[in-house]
């Protein structure tokens, strides 16, 4: 073997090892959570409230809480994000101002989530008088998700060929008609996928809901959007660090982790299915 092909083989192996290492970590994490969490996940676990000082019972209120908060996040982040992306990509002139705004949006997605949490307290809990509630937490997560949905939506819009826009305009369509009938239909799958992935990340966040509405323990389900709530990631955090008997409730913590993981998995898979469906529809 000459030097060139030895280098090539070596190169391949280095890359292969990198890949293998990443896959290994993933497998170990999954194995750990599934083997330790699966025994705890029963029907009772999924449908009942915690009992006996959170050493027994289930995580139903946390599932409901996470679901409700994510809904609020979606209502805020998806339409706003898509709308801003359409404006930025289709209408905004390319000048210093828009470049500055775009850069700020990119930077916002790098802001630590605990900072969003503090900001949520100031804006929603205090200033808007929402108190610590589902709506405060949902809005905080919504703000955190916005940069992601805007960026993903803009990428999806950029992927639509210019010729679709020009072709429509050349036929006497107005700019809005060309966007609505000849750009959005082809960008929507990508926009939605981005939005859903952003939401699944928001659903798993702890820091932003920590001060804005998540509760340690609530015996009842929330009865309005202004109630406090239990959430899966926060419950997991409590069960692993704050509980008076951490070793005793370890299985519950693992069960919660598994449920959270599965939920996020489910959401991501639904994003993939949705995108596939929409693509098929387009091909007809």
């Amino acid at each position: 073997m000459n030097e060139k092909s030895i280098k090539q083989v070596l190169g391949f192996w280095v890359l292969r090892l990198c890949m293998g290492f990443v896959a290994l970590i993933l497998v170990v994490v999954f194995y750990d959570i599934i083997t330790k969490g699966a025994p705890a996940v029963t029907w009772t676990f999924l449908t009942q409230s915690p009992r006996e000082g959170m050493t027994e019972g289930g995580i139903f209120p946390a599932i409901v809480g996470t679901f409700l908060v994510t809904m609020i996040t979606a209502i805020l982040a998806v339409p706003l994000g898509m709308g801003s992306a359409i404006y930025l990509n289709e209408y905004a002139p390319d000048n210093f101002m828009t470049r500055f705004i775009r850069m700020s949006i990119r930077n916002l997605s790098g802001v630590p989530s605990i900072v969003y949490g503090l900001f949520g307290v100031a804006l929603f809990v205090e200033m808007c008088h929402f108190g610590t509630s589902i709506i405060s937490a949902g809005c905080t997560l919504g703000l955190m998700t916005l940069p992601l949905t805007i960026t993903a939506s803009e990428e999806a819009l950029k992927a639509v060929p210019r010729s679709y826009r020009e072709g429509a305009l050349a036929l006497g369509a107005t700019k809005w008609q060309s966007i609505r009938t000849n750009v959005l239909p082809y960008a929507i799958p990508g926009m939605l996928t981005g939005a859903i992935l952003g939401l699944s990340r928001a659903a798993g966040e702890t820091a932003p809901i920590l001060f804005t509405g998540a509760a340690f323990f609530l015996p009842d389900l929330p009865n309005s959007l202004l109630s406090q709530f239990m959430a899966l990631p926060y419950h997991l955090y409590i069960m692993s660090t704050q509980h008076h008997n951490i070793t005793l409730v370890r299985p519950i913590a693992y069960g919660t982790a598994l449920v959270l993981l599965m939920l996020i998995f489910l959401v991501n898979i639904s994003a993939i299915i949705l995108r596939y469906r929409l693509r098929q529809m387009k091909k007809e």
Binding site: P161, E166, G167, A170, L171, G172, A173, T181, Y186, K283
Partner: protein
């Protein structure tokens, strides 16, 4: 040049992209029901000139027209002109076939629908007439509901012609319509152009000199933004007045 009333009058027209001037004092009259070819080396501004005729260049930021382009005596850059209306009157076929990823029928119906025509029977009639007009009807009539992207490149380009015809324009602009097509598809497009000039004023940009010679009545030769020569195609190709024109059409440069 026959002495008809010109359809399009271009007078002392300049065009700028930012600080650079891409068209310099262009003046030419374009005859109705004529094929006018614009030839010239890459980057000479021929596509820019074509795209000024339906104001497609409006989309390019920091571009600026100066001077006059009149269609039927109306200044198309005047503030009172609605650019959407203008583009209905001045149809365009692009260099690369760009059918929308919709059915063949919906592609042709697109221009009608965005212009507010809702009567389905009228739409059907116009779609059929347009597809016949672009010589695609026989191939497409049994597959109108099929995605237009399944058509061959040449068929796609004829579909784009049909799409432009559907809104009954007066002028048809074609930007190298055959450059992405094989010889057989090219021949079909050329036949089509000759057929269409009976009803429409056609302006075509082409790289292919034989094509200009075959199908056009008048030819304009552009070079670095200057209109070097403009006249009857037979004159331009047999006895050009300018040395530069002669050198270009005999293939000495470009």
């Amino acid at each position: 040049m026959p002495n008809m009333k010109p359809k399009i009058k271009i007078k002392d027209f300049n065009f700028y992209y930012g600080a650079s001037q891409v068209l310099k004092r262009i003046s030419m009259d374009i005859q109705p029901t004529h094929v006018t070819a614009i030839i010239g080396p890459s980057g000479c501004g021929k596509s820019t000139l074509l795209r000024c005729l339906n104001r497609m260049n409006d989309l390019i930021p920091s571009s600026r027209p100066e001077g006059k382009i009149e269609i039927d005596g109306q200044d198309i850059n005047a503030p009172s002109i609605d650019v959407v209306d203008l583009r209905k009157r001045v149809g365009m076929v692009f260099q690369k076939p760009n059918p929308f990823p919709k059915s063949i029928f919906d592609n042709v119906a697109y221009g009608l629908r965005v212009n507010g025509i809702k009567d389905n029977r009228l739409i059907e009639k116009r779609v059929e007439a347009s597809l016949k007009g672009s010589a695609l009807w026989e191939e497409a009539k049994d597959r109108l509901k099929e995605n237009a992207l399944n058509l061959s490149g040449g068929q796609q380009q004829r579909l784009c012609v049909a799409r432009a015809l559907a809104i009954e324009p007066e002028v048809l602009l074609m930007d190298e319509p055959a450059s992405a097509l094989d010889p057989i598809a090219t021949a079909k497009i050329e036949e089509l152009i000759v057929e269409l000039k009976k009803k429409y004023t056609i302006v075509i940009v082409t790289h292919n000199m034989q094509q200009a010679a075959r199908i056009s009545d008048s030819t304009a030769f552009l070079m670095q933004g200057d209109l070097v020569e403009y006249g009857k195609t037979s004159d331009i190709f047999t006895k050009p007045k300018q040395k530069m024109t002669e050198e270009y059409i005999t293939g000495r440069f470009g």
